[in-house]
């Protein structure tokens, strides 16, 4: 069981460690800066932090000494945009410029130092040198359907989920808001949309089932059974049991099926966690009570977990990267827009409050 959690917030990166007395904030890095995401690479021990400096753009930093020191490394950079490129389907051209690093993932164990980055406005990037340099995955960027993607959660479309098949590093799935789920089985040479079964209520009726305009908020796969996936979608919860070839909606899940975050148990594909809010029009917990919903039977039924979570006038929202489960499946962490951080050491049965006064939390990540 890990003893370290990285918490990315609007005002810095916080390292939370477990001591005999419980979990406490051990160190703050980048204090005052907007840290949007962090990644701990178990293969070589490197940590990565994505920053958004606003005026000065999105940057990446790497630590090789468990957060003691950080070095700025290369950030994904889009290639020159051809003068005759017309990729704005609504008449608004897409800027070929990095807006945000929205996903960071390690490649397979057989490819040390290789990383994937999903970005807004929709580019997928790969690094083979621990993030020092990045290359746009041209095949996906130039896919004709990419021009049909549109913004969800931001003005421009973005890749927030990058899942590398542990059985085959050449197979990668990416989740796009709003652009569905895409699969490559040939190391990024070709791509196929994999969002059949999802439903987009926010579109005109004839486009509701169109896979290319779906808004999966986050896509996760069970590490031990990678063909079993879960998606927290803008319009509800979906699961796949056939490697994303088809998706089935889970229509009931405690107080609501709307939310952003999802986590799946690393060995039990039927066990998944969600953090519901009322709806897309009311992005606050139902009845002002923060709960986590857990299924252990593939979505047939859900436990509503509230032990240790605020149950009175709580208006916390948990963003898509702000719920994590560790590699044992016992530790859960969630952080909210209100700056609350909770950890459970018993798979969600009971949560303890680590802090109630962190900056707004974008993401949590067990080391």
């Amino acid at each position: 069981m890990t003893d370290t959690l990285l918490v990315s917030t609007r005002k810095g990166l916080f390292e939370v460690r477990r001591h005999s007395s419980g979990w406490t904030v051990q160190r703050a890095s980048f204090v005052g800066d907007n840290v949007t995401l962090a990644l701990a690479d178990r293969r070589d021990g490197c940590w990565y932090a994505a920053l958004d400096h606003g005026h000065f753009g999105a940057k990446l930093h790497r630590s090789e000494d468990d957060g003691e020191s950080w070095v700025e490394i290369g950030a994904p950079e889009y290639p020159p945009k051809p003068a005759d490129e017309d990729d704005g389907q609504d008449g608004r051209p897409v800027p070929w410029a990095l807006q945000r690093i929205w996903a960071l993932s390690t490649a397979g164990d057989d490819r040390p130092g290789e990383l994937w980055a999903g970005t807004i406005p929709g580019g997928l990037f790969r690094s083979r040198d621990q993030g020092q340099t990045w290359t746009l995955v041209d095949s996906l960027w130039r896919h004709p359907d990419r021009k049909r993607w549109f913004g969800g959660g931001a003005d421009l479309p973005g890749i927030h989920s990058v899942l590398v098949d542990p059985r085959d590093s050449r197979r990668v799935l990416v989740g796009v808001s709003c652009g569905g789920v895409w699969e490559t089985t040939d190391d990024g040479e070709t791509w196929t949309v994999r969002a059949t079964g999802m439903r987009a209520n926010y579109m005109p009726p004839e486009q509701v089932d169109d896979p290319v305009i779906q808004d999966p908020h986050l896509v996760v796969a069970c590490a031990a059974d990678f063909d079993r996936l879960w998606t927290q979608h803008h319009c509800g919860i979906w699961r796949s049991t056939d490697g994303a070839r088809s998706w089935t909606e889970i229509k009931q899940a405690g107080p609501s099926t709307f939310g952003f975050a999802v986590a799946v148990h690393p060995r039990e594909p039927n066990t998944a966690y969600f953090v519901p809010a009322i709806s897309d029009q009311h992005r606050v917990p139902v009845d002002g009570r923060v709960v986590v919903t857990r299924t252990r039977d593939g979505g047939e039924s859900f436990d509503v977990l509230r032990n240790g979570l605020p149950q009175n006038h709580a208006y916390d929202l948990v963003f898509r990267h702000a719920l994590d489960i560790d590699h044992t499946g016992e530790l859960l962490a969630l952080g909210s827009t209100t700056g609350n951080l909770w950890i459970s050491e018993d798979a969600g049965d009971r949560f303890t409050t680590v802090s109630t006064h962190l900056p707004p939390i974008h993401a949590v990540c067990f080391v």
Partner: protein, 89 residues
């Protein structure tokens, strides 16, 4: 030769002392700066080389007009200020 100054707020993230460089346009002058200091480039301009949305560049007290290709002319005595726009970002 033009001299280029950078906002103090930028110095918190990357070293950027004032520097005297050659160049007949803002683009040429900044290109010289970025040759000497490659890390600085991404803090001032975006992937396409345009001035970042929430950055401003002044040439002898006048805001540049060409934010895309930075073609505004400069002269040997010009002072170029690279500063933050007081807008969002």
């Amino acid at each position: 030769m033009p001299i280029v100054h950078f906002t103090a707020n930028l110095r918190r993230h990357v070293a950027c002392p004032s520097v005297t460089v050659e160049g007949a346009t803002v683009r040429e002058a900044l290109a010289r700066v970025f040759e000497q200091n490659p890390q600085l480039r991404g803090y001032v301009v975006d992937d396409q080389g345009a001035v970042r949305k929430h950055m401003n560049i002044f040439v002898d007290g006048v805001q540049i007009r060409d934010r895309v290709t930075l073609g505004d002319p400069v002269t040997p005595g010009t002072e170029i200020y690279v500063i933050q726009a007081l807008s969002g970002g």
